[in-house]
Amino acid sequence: MLKITKKLEERTLTVEASGRIDTTTAPDFENEIKDSLASVSELILDFSKVEYISSAGLRVLLSAQKIMTKQGSMKLTNVSSEIMEIFEVTGFSDILDIE
């Protein structure tokens, strides 16, 4: 359902999520990210293969954003128009750094 690939280069963690981030998969997504955030100053979330994100997924993004605000920065890349629409509807596009 959701496949997560992580790559740590020095203090930059790149996470590529693939599939649906919904109520079922969001806890995995949250654990994968939070387990790797120690001493990371830049978190890049590659959303090129994300098909859907539910409110549970949005909560993970919000939670990660709050941690990264304290220890560096976080940005989302390759966000598709469907996902972008969700971000816009929910107002997340205002608080997230989306490339």
């Binding site: 919904d22 079922t24 539910s54 409110s55 549970a56 919000l62 509807v89 929910t90 107002g91």
Partner: protein
Amino acid sequence: MFKKYGITFGGLQQKIINLVLVFLLVLTGVFGGMSVFQSNALSDVVGGARVEQERSITQVSEATMHATVEGTMQQSTTMRAKIADDDFLEVVENIKLMRSVAEDLFEKRDIIVPAAFSLPDPADDGKVTAQVLYEQGVDYANSEYLGIASHMNNLMIAMYNNSSNVGSCYIGLADGTHIAVNDMSSDKYDESGRLIPFPVRERPWYKGAVEAGDIYFTGLENDTYTDGICITCSAPVTVDGKLVAVVGIDVTIDNMDEIVKSKDAAGFSCVVSDRGQVIFAPEDNGIFDIKVSAEAEDLTKSDNKDLAELVSRSLSEPTGLSLVTINGRDYYMCGSPMKTVGWSVITVVDKEITEQPTKQMLDEYSRINDEATDKFETGVKRTEKTTLVMILLVMILGSAAALFVANRIVRPIEHMTARLDRIKAAGGEFEMDEIYRTGDEIQVLAESFKTLSDRTRQYITEITEITKEKERIGTELELANKIQADMLPNIFPPFPERPEFDLYATMTPAKEVGGDFYDFFLIDDDHLCMVMADVSGKGVPAALFMMMSKILVNNFANMGISPAKVLEQTNTVICKNNEEEMFVTVWLGIMEISTGKVTAANAGHEYPVIKSADGGFELLKDKHGFVVGGMEGVRYKEYEFTIDHGGALFLYTDGVPEATNSENELFGTDRMLTALNAVKDAEPKELLVNVKQSVDDFVGEAPQFDDLTMLAFVRHR
């Protein structure tokens, strides 16, 4: 497996017994085989030794026998030959003397006065006398020779008297007359008292001596007067190359009698003449017939080569021992010459007799051997019997022991099976009974069963607890669900006293407790507040968060402040204590009922759908603020729109457009609008039913994860 006589056939018990039996069988088989092999080997050795010993005994014995027989036979034969020859030597000397005297007399016949002579007188029988005999037709009274020859009468009488070897002395004269000296005067006459003519010059001794020209021994010849046979030694008497007489002596040699009587169990001796004829031999000797010379066979020319060779050789030298087969029987023969007469003595011994000692010895040996063999075989048989009994005993004892051991192994297992069956049927605890404490695998097995049984019981207890707990939680969740549902206004129509509008709302949670909620309430007579919200996440936490949010929004809205302020105040309160970082999207609108003007604020919620009096349902792409609870100090923007008479408002959560079918397609806002526009002037309840039906048709059997919450408001014309 089946049980009979207390033994489980096909079970461990039988297998153990089988194993022991096979082991015992192999063991006894090996022992039996070994003893049979040893016994056979011993028998072979004994038998082989016996054959070997018998052969050895035979060889040694025969060799010894041969040597003994040869030595003895040759010696005795030579002795006999010599003794007989000595006798003949005497006879020969006598003949020589007679011849010499006769020659002397006839040489001087012219000057010698003829002596008186007379015919035999039967009255003289038993008295040794000189008796004149003559050939038929010869005038004996006028014979010149008789008168001269009669000078020898005294000499011949002396010879007869002095020698036991002389049966009769005589002188046959060339004119057909004859003087015989013996004590059998009456024999010369026949029954009628007439003198029997004596054919002097026809007699074999006469003819033989004349022919030989020297001393001559006849073979066996018929006696002229008796029925008997005799041998005669004779010699011609010649004067001036002219034969005048033949002197002769009938040989009656005692030693010949010895030879004749020599037949005994061991054999016999016989005398063979220079013509190869048997002269003296015991009667019924079984080999040689004694016949007169005219009829007797010349053995030197016998078809039996061995015999012919022996006889020929015996005439000139001691032969040594020869084996001669006559009429299928083996005989040892040994010959030695009699020099004087040119004859030989041959001793014959039946070979079988010489073998008798060997035979006896072999028989004795055989008897001893047989006894020993019998004893040995009896011993072997007894041992075999004992072994058989022992094998049987070992089998029985082994089986009993195996049964005992097998029982000890099997009984705990059977006990265990019975115990487990009872536990299976009635439930209960497996207990470590004393029978399982065998100290082997069975004890380990029993202990494992015990552990398994304990664990199982523990699991059952735990599962019972867990099930109870789960049921309790389930009950509580159901209760929470009910409380949550009760939290939402659910009496329709909600404002029956207000005919100018109608409103209907539903919430279908995906899980037992959802995070969506809707709300509507009158702030005052002219202001209706409508709320549609969606809490992030699901379950009890979402439900609790939703309750708090609903109460906060409700409270702040009832204070009469603007929608944006309501959301901002709510956000501030939630953010103060939001360790879980939950948030809620909220659309809040306050409508002035008299005019249809709606003032609204959107905190990250879906676009509302509105319908004008104559138009269709369409999305209102309003301005969005951030979700409530996500961040402190968020400002919200307000906007306004109006619902005409005949217009409508449709609010929903993302569960509607994001309903997913089995092909992973989203229901989307387009299908939602189509469903609404299908019967666009319908009452609120019908609108929601249509949308729900459309969603259900779309997703089919695919499971839904999101709540489905909708609210429809219609302003009547």
